[in-house]
Amino acid sequence: MSLRLDPREHAPLFLRLLVSLVAGLAALLLVAIPVMAAGANPFEAYLLMAQGAFGSMFALSETLNRATPLILTGLAAAVAFRARLWNIGAEGQLYMGALAAVMVGSGFLQLPAPLAIPAIMLAGFLAGGLMMVIPAMLKQRFGADEVVITLLLNFVVILFIQMLIEGPLKDPLAMGWPQSVPLVAEARFDKLIPRLRMHWGLIVGLVAALILWLMVKRTVLGFEIKAVGENKAAARFAGIPVDATMLKVALISGGLAGLAGVSEVAGVKGYLSADLSPGFGYSGIVVAMLAGLSPIGSVLAAIFIAAVFVGADSMSRATGISNYLADLVVALSLLCVLVGGFFLRFRLRWQSRQEA
């Protein structure tokens, strides 16, 4: 008997779901080791995390609040990775989207809410999109690798934001804190339920997921993205405008990350500061991979990742274990789902010697 690997043409849906589920669980199980190393009981820690993330209406609202930007950055990564455009710059695009929202929505345009909200969303989408279109064009024109450029741009953007909120955009009423002037009331997202923090950004995220799902399944662009992602040369040979498709993907991907920034400013903070995102852009990559690049899956994966963060914060307050545990779970989820991808590509089969 020997073990043989047979390539798979297509992995069934249930198997893909199973891989993501097992990957998330495996990541949670693996952190039992650092929890024990920190001198705590892992079962107690898991229980506290679950309670912290889902144990009350307040906890649930916090989790969905945290999931909102992750849905959008997850979609941003998912649509780009589908076309094999490596957008690792969602963090910077998020900040550019937030910046655009503040520039449009802090009062120099006097608009009623039904116009102000679409205006800041459009501005944020375009600003984020532009931040990804530039590296995509540099790739097409000069062959420059978009991975490193988008990664480096994240650092440039955050410094640019710091410069603006300590300079021209600084709120004179913020008692010296480096934060931007606030959005006007008309440009703020309403809360979904009074006294809970979750807001209309969640609906934006869900609608975006739905639109992206329809686009992937039902539109010419969706087909073109798939073709470009699977084989660029073949797509070009088949007459698909590869470069134009890539630029559209870049705009959509960066734009979605920009919307995440708009949502955080308009739904949570009300102003722009340099600590707006604790790495939502990077976690978005994990969301997309856990979701198998599926738009609907991204919503579920974002809720999972958000629950890990919110749960770990709460567990950390109760036990004193560092909440960097959440980042460990997120990193391990990514690596576990990557390994899971191996089983989607290959079928393991035992075979007897005669067969071979």
Partner: protein, 315 residues
């Protein structure tokens, strides 16, 4: 103009340039070895953090300085082994695995730091590597202070450039490593193990990256800060392309970069009142992007970079 001349004529400026270049030399060499063998290692940013934390913590807990360096290298090698397992053995996406390694190494380092030192408000310090004075040479005008303000880790980095160049171009092992990133089929035809060579290269390369991190906490500074690596790993990935995957040019690129960075810090002191500080801080990243864009067309990527290899594979 006088300002510029003053800056370039000062030995302290060149000493700072070499100091800033040192972690990049380690990082670029590490990335270069991995990529020459056909494996992109985006784990570099996290491996820098792991090296910085592990080396520092070992010394803080009582190890000697060189013990700390060894621990840092081991931590890097360990994450390299994981990256090699995922990308070389399982043939999974080098991009995604690398990002995963960066996230894992960073969060594991932060978690370990917080767990080991739960109650510190300001980062505790260690006694770092000290500059070594060479009697006679240190007293040379200009060159003396520029070169001999450096610690042994900087000298290690410079020696490693020579060693890596020698091994890559003058030994059968180097030939095999270069071939495995260009034309793995030819290596297999020689009866050598493609996977073995790649795993070895990624492990060694990752250990070197970790030394870049260790330099930060054990020589440039004397403590570990969150976010102290600050994109240095990504800059190394850009510098490798700029250096055409050659150790000599990698050294030159890192030194140019160090000189530029030291220059902008001094310029900031001169004209910082009129230009916001962030403009200067952006420069290293923008410079890396510019370098990447300028050389991209001519860049001679190792031909089998990003391509997994299965034994007996035919093209």
């Amino acid at each position: 103009m006088d300002v510029l001349l003053d800056i370039f004529a000062s030995a302290n400026f060149w000493a700072a340039a070499i100091r800033i270049a040192t972690p990049l030399i380690f990082g670029v060499l590490g990335a270069l070895i991995c990529e020459r063998a056909g494996v992109l290692n985006l784990g570099i940013e996290g491996i820098f953090v792991a090296g910085a934390m592990a080396g520092w913590l070992a010394v803080y807990l009582g190890a000697g300085l060189w013990g700390g360096v060894l621990i840092a290298a081991l931590a890097g090698a360990l994450f390299g082994l994981l990256h090699a397992f995922l990308t070389v053995i399982l043939g999974l996406s080098q991009h995604v695995s690398g990002i995963g390694i960066t996230l894992l190494a960073t969060s594991a380092s932060y978690f370990t730091y917080r767990t080991t030192l739960p109650d510190v408000s300001s980062p505790p310090r260690i006694a770092p590597f000290q500059p070594i004075a060479v009697p006679g040479l240190s007293d040379l005008p200009f060159i003396g202070p520029a070169l001999f303000q450096q610690t042994l880790l900087t000298w290690l980095a410079l020696v490693l450039v020579a060693i890596v160049a020698f091994v890559l171009y003058r030994t059968p092992l180097g030939l095999a490593i270069r071939a495995v990133g260009d034309n793995p089929a030819s290596v297999e035809a020689q009866g050598l193990s493609v996977r073995g060579l790649r795993i070895g290269a990624v492990v060694i390369g990752s250990a070197l990256m970790a030394l870049g991190g260790a330099f930060l906490t054990m020589s440039a500074f004397d403590a570990f800060f969150f976010g102290m690596v600050n994109g240095r790993g990504w800059i190394c990935i850009a510098l490798v392309v700029f250096a055409s995957w050659q150790p000599g040019k990698a050294l030159l690129g890192a030194l140019l970069f160090g000189a530029f960075d030291a220059f902008q810090i001094r310029l900031q002191a001169e004209i910082g009142q009129v230009v916001p500080g962030q403009v200067f801080l952006m420069m290293p990243y923008l410079l890396s992007i510019l370098a990447l864009v300028l050389v991209a067309r001519k860049a001679d990527y190792p031909r089998a970079l990003l391509q997994p290899w299965t034994k007996g594979q035919r093209h």
